[in-house]
Structure formats: C-alpha cells, structure tokens
Amino acid sequence: MEVFGQLAGGFAVALHPINMAMLFVAVVLGLVIGVLPGLGGTSGVAILLPITVFIAHGSLPGSDATTAIIFLAGIYWGALFGGVITSILFNIPGEPWAVVLLFDGFPLAKRLGKPGLALASSFVSSFLGALVSTILFTFFALPIALKALEFGPAELFAVFALSFATLIGLGAEAPMKSLAMLALGLLLAAIGFDTITGEQRLNFGQISLLSGISFVPVTIGLFGIGEILASAEEQGIGFVENISARLGLRDVLEAVRELRKRLRLVLSNAIIGFFFGVLPGHGATAASFLGYGLARQYSKNKENFGKGEISGIMGPQAAADSAGVASLVPMITLGIPGSPTSAVIMAGLFIWGLQPGPVLFIQHPDFVWGLIASIYLGHLLTFVLCLLAVPLLAMIMRVPYAIITPFIVVISIIGSYSLNNSMLDVFITVVFGVIGYWLRKMKYPLAPLVVALVLGDSTERELRKALIAGHGSPLYFFNSGLSTVLLVLAIVLVLIPLVRSIRARRRGVSPTAGAGSAAAHP
C-alpha cells in the first residue's frame, strides 16, 4: 500500500522537533480557547493566523508551511476537546459544539456527582471518534485528490455549486436566509479587481477596496467580536459553580468500561460524523446535535437522556470530533472548506503561498502527509493533556470578566491589523463584529457567508472559464458526466427545503419549523 509509505513519511515530518513543539503550543492554546466562553475555535484560529505567516516563512528555526498548518490545525483539535470542559463543569458551553453536552454532561457532573466520569467519557469518545475519522481521512484523501486532478472548470464549478447547495439544503436555519448569506459572501468576494478582465467593480471609487475585502478581518469580526457581544448579552460569564474538577485514573478506567458497552454507538457515530463533516458548512456543531439525536434514537433507556446518560455524552462527542477532523478532507483534497474553521485554515494556505486542492498532493506531499500524521499526534497529545490538566483549565474560568472580555477584543484587533498592517482591516473587524452579532440574533447562519467568501473568487473564475470554453453556452456544463451528476444533485439539494415546506404546509404546520429547529432541540 502506497498510503503507508506516505504516512510514514508524514510522521517523519510531524515528529520533527519544531513541528512537535508547535503542535504542543497549539494544542494548549486550543484548549484555553476552547475553555474561554466568547472566544471560539473559528475566531481563535483566525486571530492566530497572522502569527503563522512568520512561522511559515521560517522565523522559527526549521519552521515552514507544514509547521504553520500543524499549528493552526492543532488549535482546532484543542478547541474541540476543550469546549466541553466548561459545559460539563459549569453548565456554560465554551464552544458551539459543546452546547449539546449541557443536556447530559452537566447533570452527570452535578446531580449524579460524577464530574470526573463525565469528563473522562467525553475525552475517550472524542479521542476514538477523531481516531476513526483520521484513519478514514488517511485512506480517502489520496483517491479523492487523484480523481480531482482530472477536473476541468466545469467539474470544479459543479463541485462548488454542490457545496453551496448543501449549505442551503441541509442547513439548520431557514433556507432563504442561508441563500441570502451565501449570496452576500459571493458579493463581498467580488469586490475589487476582476481576476479575468482586470476591471474594478463594487469599490465605489475607493482605492483601499481595490484588492477586495480580506477574509481574515471579516471572520475575526463575525466570529470573535460577534461572540463577545452575544455572550455579554447572555451575562452567563462571571457565575462559576463550584464543582471539583479532579480527574482520577479510576474515572478514566470507568469511562473506558462504559465506552466498551457503547462501542457500536461510538464507532457508528464516528463514521456518520466523518461523512457529515466532509459536507461543506457542517462542521462539528451540527454533527454533535446529530450524534445526540442518534444516541437517543437507538438507546434502550431513552428516559435517562437529559438526566446524565453517558450515551448522551459519548454519542455527540464521537460525532463532533470526527466531523471536525473530516472538515479538513474537502479542504485539502478539493479546496473546499468543510466548516468555518477549515475555511480559515484554507485562507491560511493562500497566505502562505499554497494552493489548496489536489495539486498539493503532487507538489507538496510532505505538507499533506505531515498534516495527516500530525492529526494522529495532535489528538493523542490533546487527550493526554486533557486527562492531566483539567483542574488548571477549569481555573481559567475564574479569570474575571472585566479582564478577559477586553483582552479578547485587544487580541482580535491585533490579529486583524497585523496581517496587512491596515487600520481599515481593524474597522472591518469591528463593523463585521456588530453585523455578525445582529445576524446571529436574527437567526441568519454565518457558515454560508464565510464559505462563500473564501470560495467566491474561484467559483466565479471556474464558472467563467467554463463559459469561455463553451463559447458562452451553459450546455458546456453538461458535456461531462461527472459535472452533470453533481449539478443535478445540487439542484435536488436546493429543492429539498422547498419540498419540505410544501409538505409541511399541507399538514398545516408552519414551514419555518423545519429540520433545523428539530435538530437544535432534540
């Protein structure tokens, strides 16, 4: 098997001392970001993105772009694990994907008095879920990439269209709101020079807008500042319950015993989480709710759910971590981010001078396989750190609100300024922070906006290249079997919400009570 040789090479890269050191730093940062409410994985990765520019250009001895991606991805792994700690101990989700842990994680810790078991259950299932997903990643990545190398503009556009369609058709929020956000992202991406004709557009005479609106300040605003404002309103912070956060070996052994009883659930949720995570826009958060629903659906004692059932922790955790890892698969193989966080990592690739997509496997195999190997190592490291450092991490919650909130604003502003040394970017961050807060409140999804913003330019380029190749005829898209199939699939996906709302109206139910609200309140 060629894969094993490549993976071994990847491990050789990932085990390089500088890469291991940066992985360690990243995982610790990720855990801290995960624990802090009001600072999410997406904004955490976006804020630290400017630093990776220095890492990628070799400011540290021996560092290169591989170190940079290992660093960014490591933050994500840490955040995936860390977000649950506050959910379980303090009933405050540190990350959106940890919300589901409030249903059973907190009751098990508080009411049944087993915080150690609740944490250990979450960690072992997260680890197993991520491991399954990484193994699938290892074997699926190369075949997908090799197939994608044959894609022309028509196929590439069809893939983009399909990923936009999944955002609309399978999104949790109202499909028209997803569509509006998607179009807004495409529009924002179009600002500045047109890549094909070189004409300027949508800049309203402003020279500063000629190079377009940068992705990173927008994301830091939407996610970082937006979350700060949202959590200020909830006023949840500042109130910390006093639960002992000790995690003993006994808890871990008990969690492993409980895991063995639920091995089928955890493994199947991990596999479902993987395929769910590969779909664009559906990262760990959606998968965690799906995983909870599945765990309850197939449980023999449904009445225990909501009271501290371990399946209600393990099910969603396995799916969430698996989906988190899987969201990197389409990013690396096709250049399509599977989640807002992987959209930020993809923006990083562009900034380091790499083109995400199948060519990476040919031109930079060290980069790709180093990343894959680091996913194995990163999760092992995160798992061990979680078992050892929970009390320390829980202490972060005691940092007062009056310090942590302005501090997050300060580092957000450093992050958005330092990428281009631009004060305009700082204002973009602040303005988009307010916009992001408001959109969240009005229940507009942000994932389509972010994914469309990062994919907008390439979507337009491939669309117009295909039209040029077809001498202006849209029939060109149906010349190849693959693009035909993908486009038909995209149309079907977009029609799903329409069909659903017509059927709901026939039954006399409000069409807005679609799949999303059902998934959000299992």
Binding site: M176, T197, V409, I413, Y417, V434, L463, A469, S510
Partner: protein, 175 residues
Amino acid sequence: MRPYQVATAAAIVLIAAVAMFDSRAAFNPSASTAPGDVGSRWYPFWAASIMGVASLIVAYRALTTPQAIEGVFEGSRSLFAVLKIAVPMLVYALLIGGIGFRTTDFTYRILPPFGFYLATALYMGLFAWWIGRYKIWWVAAITVAFPIVIFAVFEIGFRVSLPKSFLYTSGLLPF
C-alpha cells in the same frame, strides 16, 4: 421580533440594490472580454439579485407567519450589556488610528492617533475600573502591564509592528 426581521431583510435588499446598480453594466459587457465571457459585472449582478430576492422572501415570511411577540432584547438591561461592550470597542478602534480626513494637500486631525499601546492601556484600564470596580492600584497595574506584555510578545517576539501614537512620531515615546 417582526419589525426587526423585516428591517434586517430590508437592509440586505438595499445592499443588493446598490450592488445591482453598480453592476448594471452586466447587460453590456465591455469589448475587452474574451469571446464567450460574460464580463466582470455579470457575476456580482446575479449574486446581488439572488440576495435581494431571498431577502424579499424572508421579509414576506416574517410578515405572514406568526412571530414571537417579545422584542429582540430581553429588557433594557441586556441591551445595555451589549452597548457596554460595543461602544468602548468602537471608541478604542477610533483611538488607535485617530480621526481625521485628508484633502489632496493637507490632513486634518480631529483626534490624534493614540496608537495601539496607549489606546489599549486606556481600554483595559476602563474595563477594570468601570466593569470590574477594582481598587485603583489594580487598575493602574492592568493599565501598565498589558501593553508591556503585548509589546514584548508582538513587537519584539514576532516582530509585528503595531500602530504607533502621535507621541512616537514626535519622538516622546517608544510606542
């Protein structure tokens, strides 16, 4: 909830209308384009029109389907909680860069740029004093310590140059 939903959708429709107006050349692509190409305005025009139509449907839905009665904020307290964060943040961003405008031969300054470090000191200090209600020496310690640590990490460690104040340009301060 209804007026807010409709107003949000209307704002998006307005953005769409502006973008469509800017892209009105979509219907007569310039001669410089390649044969078969739709031109540079075509794509933003249709993206904007999709956005506009989608928001019109959102507004229509908000008007015709039952909406939650209560307003967007749960009482004035939660509105103030948001404003307490949002307003100082805006002021902080303005302080860093200063306020002014430029004509072709002169730059008018209403507020001189305080630079990143002075603005951060004021901003962190304000929160410690106003929200945290700390004793005055704690406020002073936070005001001094955070900018220094950030200077050490970013300016020296990562060699990221953050905006400097008007006192730096006149040589009075190292930041």
